[in-house]
Subunit: 128 residues, 2 copies
DNA sequence: CATAAAAATGATAATGATTATTAGTTCTAA
DNA sequence: TTAGAACTAATAATCATTATCATTTTTATG
């Protein structure tokens, strides 16, 4: 996979901003470095990077796609107040995957977990 | 909460079709019973029923909202081929919720798990 | 080099899901 | 019975995403 200037910047921005940004957010960030970039280029490259397994597209957070420059397997925690997304690195449920569901004839290939609740900042401010 | 003819039919259709339909799918089903109903009425009532806790809006399946007439807590399995959604009734992870995440200062209010893989039908046909 | 084919880009139109608006209709309570 | 509230159908508006297309950049090859 070849890297154009645009694609490189998009990937770089994802690496430097591990906040699981949406396409629009990536657009805003890359625009600071390359003001003439088009939103279509953002979407096109995010999809290509996803297809090549370089980044991951998260479709289970809300109804907007978020993008993640991921290396290791992890889960996500979404703050129910500010919607910030936190990485959860934990060895959850390696065995649940196969055992529980076989009984229903379903073959589990993947499992996504999203936690929600209050993040530390919002917990602090929730007493106002 | 009062039930208009439209709202009653929407809820009834959800009860009789536990396939986690989208708003458009609910629209199509209700239209058979009440051809003049408007799509806006579907959305309005689905949102109101959700706000009143009568039904549940699933935003973590894909990037379209699905609606569920739910009683007990359950998880979902999404077939990676046909995208059909299956209910997973299992006593998973009551303790993971609080234990694992406290260390990171996150207060878990809810947790959603979506499994994906092949459903029995698609597994059967995957050898073609 | 020269240059033709392939790939990528920017601009923008088109689409699909959802929300907002609005004028008219139905329900409800005094 | 009737004014006000709630609800509706139709449709415009919005937001996220994809498709299109003319132009530019890159790449491979003679």
């Amino acid at each position: 996979m070849k890297y154009s200037k645009q694609r490189s910047l998009i990937l770089e921005v994802l690496q430097n901003n591990p906040c699981h940004p949406t396409a629009e957010q990536v657009f805003a960030l890359v625009k600071e470095l390359l003001p003439d970039i088009s939103l279509a280029t953002i979407y096109r490259n995010l999809n290509q990077l996803t297809e090549n397994g370089i980044i991951k597209k998260l479709d289970y957070i809300d109804n907007v796609s978020h993008f993640d420059y991921c290396t290791e397997k992890h889960y996500h925690f979404v703050c129910s107040k500010c919607s910030k997304i936190f990485d959860i690195k934990a060895n959850i449920i390696p065995e649940i995957k196969q055992s529980i569901l076989k009984q229903q004839g379903l073959t589990v290939e993947d499992m996504e977990i999203s936690f929600s609740g209050l993040c530390p900042d919002c917990l602090k401010n929730s007493n106002n």
